[in-house]
Symmetry: D2
Amino acid sequence: MSTRKMRVGILGATGVVGQRFVELLRDHPWFEIAALAASDASAGKVYRDSCTWRMNGDWPAGAGDLMVQPCVPPLDCELVFSALPASVAGEVEESFAQAGYPVITNSRNHRMDPDVPVLVPEINADHVRILEAQRKWRGYSRGFIVTNPNCSATALVMALAPVHRSFGLRAVQVTTLQAISGAGYPGVPASDLVDNVIPYIAEEEEKIERETKKILGELVDGQFRPDDLALSAQCHRVNVRDGHLEAVSIGLKRPASPEEIRAAWESFSGPPQELRLPSAPARPIVVREEPDRPQPSRDRDAEHGMATVVGRLRPCPVLDYKFVLLGHNTVRGAAGGTILIAEYLRATGWI
Amino acid sequence: MSTRKMRVGILGATGVVGQRFVELLRDHPWFEIAALAASDASAGKVYRDSCTWRMNGDWPAGAGDLMVQPCVPPLDCELVFSALPASVAGEVEESFAQAGYPVITNSRNHRMDPDVPVLVPEINADHVRILEAQRKWRGYSRGFIVTNPNCSATALVMALAPVHRSFGLRAVQVTTLQAISGAGYPGVPASDLVDNVIPYIAEEEEKIERETKKILGELVDGQFRPDDLALSAQCHRVNVRDGHLEAVSIGLKRPASPEEIRAAWESFSGPPQELRLPSAPARPIVVREEPDRPQPSRDRDAEHGMATVVGRLRPCPVLDYKFVLLGHNTVRGAAGGTILIAEYLRATGWI
Amino acid sequence: MSTRKMRVGILGATGVVGQRFVELLRDHPWFEIAALAASDASAGKVYRDSCTWRMNGDWPAGAGDLMVQPCVPPLDCELVFSALPASVAGEVEESFAQAGYPVITNSRNHRMDPDVPVLVPEINADHVRILEAQRKWRGYSRGFIVTNPNCSATALVMALAPVHRSFGLRAVQVTTLQAISGAGYPGVPASDLVDNVIPYIAEEEEKIERETKKILGELVDGQFRPDDLALSAQCHRVNVRDGHLEAVSIGLKRPASPEEIRAAWESFSGPPQELRLPSAPARPIVVREEPDRPQPSRDRDAEHGMATVVGRLRPCPVLDYKFVLLGHNTVRGAAGGTILIAEYLRATGWI
Amino acid sequence: MSTRKMRVGILGATGVVGQRFVELLRDHPWFEIAALAASDASAGKVYRDSCTWRMNGDWPAGAGDLMVQPCVPPLDCELVFSALPASVAGEVEESFAQAGYPVITNSRNHRMDPDVPVLVPEINADHVRILEAQRKWRGYSRGFIVTNPNCSATALVMALAPVHRSFGLRAVQVTTLQAISGAGYPGVPASDLVDNVIPYIAEEEEKIERETKKILGELVDGQFRPDDLALSAQCHRVNVRDGHLEAVSIGLKRPASPEEIRAAWESFSGPPQELRLPSAPARPIVVREEPDRPQPSRDRDAEHGMATVVGRLRPCPVLDYKFVLLGHNTVRGAAGGTILIAEYLRATGWI
């Protein structure tokens, strides 16, 4: 791998996920921001003047001075991260892949395409093999499209994967308590959430159910075979800034003791840890022992927001076990997870 | 039934549940507050000076001027409502029952006693028959002890009962998002709940699991036979003032269509409705059709806080159906539910 | 005054203030809703289908079935209430006044016009006399435009007026802590207010300063002469659903004891109380004695949201006295205040 | 100054301020924690088992394993930081000073003693000279007592000092919107703050008024001469985790333009900056230009929580100027401010 920094572009740079990309790539050892693109309303302005900075602290020095360009190839970069809204992501991402750019995206549009992997590098790094077929089928020369999962699915699948591998999963019930930042900006009006909970997030339950099964599934003969577990999700928006909490019940295929499940979590690691990727959490799964943890405000920053934190493992009278998990939805569940994918692709020579 | 108002006493009158009793009994057509009792710290003071009024509006005229007495019989009344903390409720309630007072209590201490009913008058009014045995076994002459269920169990069992009757329930998964007021005063520190969720409420999951099965069970040959459904609860405290939201999945014993379940809910009623009890909700279960309801702030006051509001009924990939329910935890789930029991006992001649 | 109900129209009926008008006019003894008008996007739909109902409870029976019309005269009614956004209110309101309709508006556009009164009927009912000049200057035959003040100014001026009358005011410092509902819907994003305060509300400080002086001023020779007090406002948005809290310091022209100020507040009343208008608060100013009141959640519903609640009167080391006040911003501070104006105009024969 | 780390003890180590001391002293270049002391309930336990850790992240390795001792001298250390509650701080701190320990305290008890300085090292470092008199009067050999100001006063006085020096202050009006963490743990019940503001904090207004004048005052002939400005404070508790926001109006003795005031802020620095103390903020005052800043969640961590952030400077119709400021109440306003004092005393040879 070359030691030269790779020049990256960000599509949808003015939104919250786009800004999070800019923040997380500040001082990244392998990537440097070379291009920022956004909607026509922002294109042509200096980044600093094109939007309100919603991350903590101040504008990053270099990126703040870049000119925002339209979301049309070519961009002067070797790779694009996409934080585009679903209304436009589909076509724009295809046009960049067609033009030769590797596209690593946080948008949902292509996740369920039969030739696009939904990657969680600790879990299904091997799904990247579909890219050869993708290029052939779509006629891409050097470009491709890789997606990360929905924020809730990301946190969930991390906790499920080691149990799935060791004991098999036949059924999963998950109830989410999701943070406001997951809805983007402006997102949910304050008047809907003060002294309230909203028991509905459009299309979220379907995404969690579908994407989790694709990630835990196998790539056989160039086709994704989703896992056959039964998975049911109920989603809620709660008055929390960052961090999705999920209450989970699981039914196993083979019996396991609580100690065995805990051991599966604590020993879990994968290619990002082996390859010592810059954004890889040392512990992808952090197990807490207190009766009342994980909690969003206290645990979302574990491993710099890149881990899933689990706790309260105990028997479930309906399935086998129940537990609580927490993931940082705008770090590991969005820009951070996408950057980790790029690091994996770089370390393995895909880009 | 006499038209004279019955004189009632309130044990634990200075706490939040005690104050809610006082508020709900203001202008009650059948009961009038004749005695207020509380801990030694408050006894001997005029009610208005004994505590901070935490309900909306001002002190009720009459009750505010009563002298607070110690929680020791005799009190000058015909019936006592108990809002005592669990640390003292057990013995004090027994001493009043022994002294001849019907005791209707919101405290948990006696709920699982084999000779004490946990009453939800729409559902298991017949469980009141155990009181004859209770009197005999305990040597009570005229007194007795009746309990209402835990606030989360109350809202849940209302939504389950009609489905249980019509189709049978084999399994229930419930994840609660509970309001702050359920923890009493001072309850949860604000610094634990700003921008946070606490995924743990001590003993709450056990209470929901046990009490629901007792209420849905049968009284056979003088013994409670709990229902055999598998029930699993996961409890969370969220930043909401009043109203417990619960995400539920149910497995049925006999197949049912969504329309049949909805019909079972909408047609559900029981003795409180037939007897036209003053606090009875016209519709014990309110079904909402919007995709994002019920919500605590918008639906907790349905039927003056005495109903369970349900919504989002849809198939569950793991069990059979999933839905969301909401109940007002300090009205139907506490003082209001207890008063409804008293109304039922009065209308049926038990008091 | 005729006992027949007057037929009213609501401009901007689909927004939050418009919905509040609909809610407050449900069962009004003097007015009935005959017409609802809104933007072209809603016009032509049945009201129930034209927007999401954001008030508590369900759609009002009659109004829910009305067809929404465009905001263009004629409407089949005798009077219009305006809840239009400022971007269109100016011209639309003029067109209705020109067409012969009395227009009573919650919008800011015409408040500072030299021939339009900003009415708080307890305080400056006599300002209504300007309407004769308004009709002459504008060539209105039967129509006219009357405004209510900004929500923060309404609550403030109620507490200031009795002190101003009795002792004169030379200076007022006010810092507001304003509720979310004041920003309309969707208003402030939740992600901006969780664990946060926003120390800025566009144009709010200017409105408070200008309108208060106009209301406390005099109408002399057909011209408004604003009061000469020095008034400084600082405005904040806080995480509260309803109820604006304001911390006030006042400098007096003539010395007064705390008891005299309290007496001025408690004895304050005006035409709405004398005329027993249906929406008039029995006590326009409610004085609380507790050290920590008024509070938004506990005091905003005093007098059905139509009063200003004051407390914590004490000496100010910089001016003379300081105190805290609270007003319900969407009731007295918006639709409720506007309806009270209409009641006053009806009782005095202006409509 | 020796390069050896100084061994420090923490009184009241199990409370939130005590824990913040432990967190901020983790890896401190000049101090190391040698002793932890707390109430009898905690003494004798290992720190890790003596309380719930309420800071983010995990227990600090070393400190977590220390044995908690009673708050009685001797402790095996050279200096004590006090985070004791006011109910016991007075006597305990005196006993340590008497026993020869320098005591640097966050407690309020001794702040207004005529021989105790309230230090903000950027502002009144010279007040430390009173310590010689203190030792003489109290008969302390090597020990002494130094205090930091109340959290709200700290943030305020930082913004006032440069203006005071350059132009003189005749009057200050301040309205605070204070965070929950200022009340300690458990502090304010969540049920008092959801959808609410509390316009009262016991004794806070008096503390702000008194301490600010003492800090801005002079030490003349061994006596503190408080500044003669008129200062009025109104305090509110709002639903924010950390960061006190304050709306301020100031009257100047000598005229100044907004540019001059801004320049006074931006050029402000003092002994901590000159001495390059480890905890000193590079910019003690951070000036923001956006119309809606500072905000607690976005600005409290400026300069690692050690700065006062100001914004919205504009003319005040009553006094001369108004502006908004923000300070991190548990960092600069508590433990962080106290540690900065210790660093100053160390750098200048007092300890």
